[in-house]
């Protein structure tokens, strides 16, 4: 599961939906692997407006990647910044979470990730 996925996932518990603490989910004991993918600057520039930057900063820091700037770059800034392109490419497109847990900051529920597959099926008492 690519790290970018964490920008699109939230806690599956219904009562957590209204809480801002349920997004992003927090990786715990994460084992990361890296795929070799060709850099596509256009993808990253186009992605900018649809990424929740604050959540991405949290994810990046929690996974031990270098801290991202507080504000997202503009499209022009990103196009001109080879290092930033490379860093975002590595983090979002190449890095995969293979094992570990994803923890909801609101209810504390831990979703297991095994062999790259996260399990969001809730135990019956949480449905």
């Amino acid at each position: 599961m690519k790290v970018l996925t964490l920008n699109f996932l939230t806690c599956a518990v219904k009562t957590c939906k209204s809480s801002s603490d349920s997004f992003p989910l927090h990786p715990k004991d994460a084992e990361l692997v890296s795929d070799d993918v060709e850099l596509n600057p256009q993808l990253l520039v186009n992605l900018l407006p649809r990424i929740d930057w604050k959540a991405l900063r949290t994810t990046s820091t929690e996974l031990g990647f270098p801290e991202l700037p507080e504000q997202p770059p503009t499209a022009e800034e990103l196009e001109a910044d080879e290092k930033m392109l490379k860093d975002l490419h590595t983090l979002l497109v190449e890095t995969q979470m293979n094992e570990g847990k994803l923890v909801c900051g609101h209810c504390g529920h831990e979703y297991a990730v095994r062999e790259g597959i996260a399990n969001f099926l809730l135990p019956s008492h949480l449905v």
Binding site: M1, K2, L4, T5, N7, F8, L9, T10, C11, A12, K17, F23, E38, N40, Q42, L43, N46, L47, P49, R50, A75, V93, Q96, Y111, E115, G116, I117, A118, N119, F120, L121, L122, P123, S124
Partner: protein, 267 residues
């Protein structure tokens, strides 16, 4: 014709094997009318040079099973969406289906780049038109997907009318074996009352799941009473907000399992 992804590695004892319904989705999504709709809905700078690209569309397939449809959408992103920067994600209740989907997508993307760069003079040029596969997660419908983010949702639901629905969870301390495999397969086809119990839950969730530009492709069979389903969708939200049109049919079979694809979107 875009090649159909290979699924020869999929364990069909516990994962739904691609069938007429899966192939109707492939045919519909690659029909000129749908690729034109998708290109207009998610314009990229390469398809209309004057304006900047809209953000990359996020494609979610609910219940990908073998992964044949999601692999098709991922490997042929450029041909289907007129852009390569397409993100794809699968959520299936069956863990074996998640693993199968990942493998089917990886193979299809690899085959696509091999066929587009192999043998030509420009071997060093990346000819791949593949999109970006985010992963496959185990879950119930789109319950773990952040609200308002899905741009293209594809659902080939369990649509066969059945007396009851199988449990989504394996029994506590349950064993692996024939019974567990039967439960997993039943999850792929058993739709409860009118074959609509799971589909109804997905339809109810659509306004929360889809982005403003979002569109859903839903497969229905004749016993699901598709005309009634479309009429109900058109009554959601404000008047005239939701559209639902049949955009693909399998007319070859006149039996009870005649299939259609309904496109659902906000106008």
């Amino acid at each position: 014709m875009l090649p159909t992804p290979s699924t020869s590695h999929v364990p069909y004892a516990r994962v739904y094997e691609p069938a007429e319904d899966s192939f109707l989705l492939l045919d519909t999504l690659s029909a000129p009318s749908e690729t034109a709709f998708l290109a207009a809905r998610f314009p990229s700078s390469s398809s209309s040079s004057s304006s900047p690209s809209s953000p990359p569309p996020l494609v979610l397939e609910v219940g990908p099973g073998s992964g044949v449809v999601l692999a098709f959408l991922t490997a042929h992103a450029a041909a289907l969406f007129s852009r390569r920067d397409v993100l794809t994600l699968g959520v299936d209740v069956n863990r074996f289906a998640c693993a199968a989907t990942g493998e089917t997508v990886r193979r299809a993307v690899r085959d696509d780049s091999a066929s587009s760069s192999g043998g030509g003079d420009n071997v060093s040029v990346s000819g791949s038109g593949a999109g970006y596969f985010l992963g496959a997660a185990q879950g119930d419908l789109a319950g773990a997907v952040r609200p308002g983010t899905v741009d293209v949702l594809v659902f080939n639901p369990p649509y066969v009318p059945t007396a009851e629905l199988p449990s989504m969870r394996q029994e506590e301390g349950g064993t692996v074996g024939y019974e567990e495999d039967s439960r997993l397969l039943a999850l792929s086809y058993a739709g409860g009352r009118d074959g609509m119990e799971v589909t109804e839950r997905l339809i109810e969730a659509l306004p929360g799941v889809l982005s403003g530009r979002g569109v859903a492709y839903l497969l229905l069979c004749a016993q699901n009473k598709p005309e009634e389903v479309k009429a109900r969708i058109r009554k959601m939200g404000r008047e005239g907000e939701w559209r639902a049109e049949t955009v693909g049919t399998s007319g070859k079979q006149a039996g009870w399992e005649k299939l259609q694809i309904v496109r659902i979107w906000r106008d």
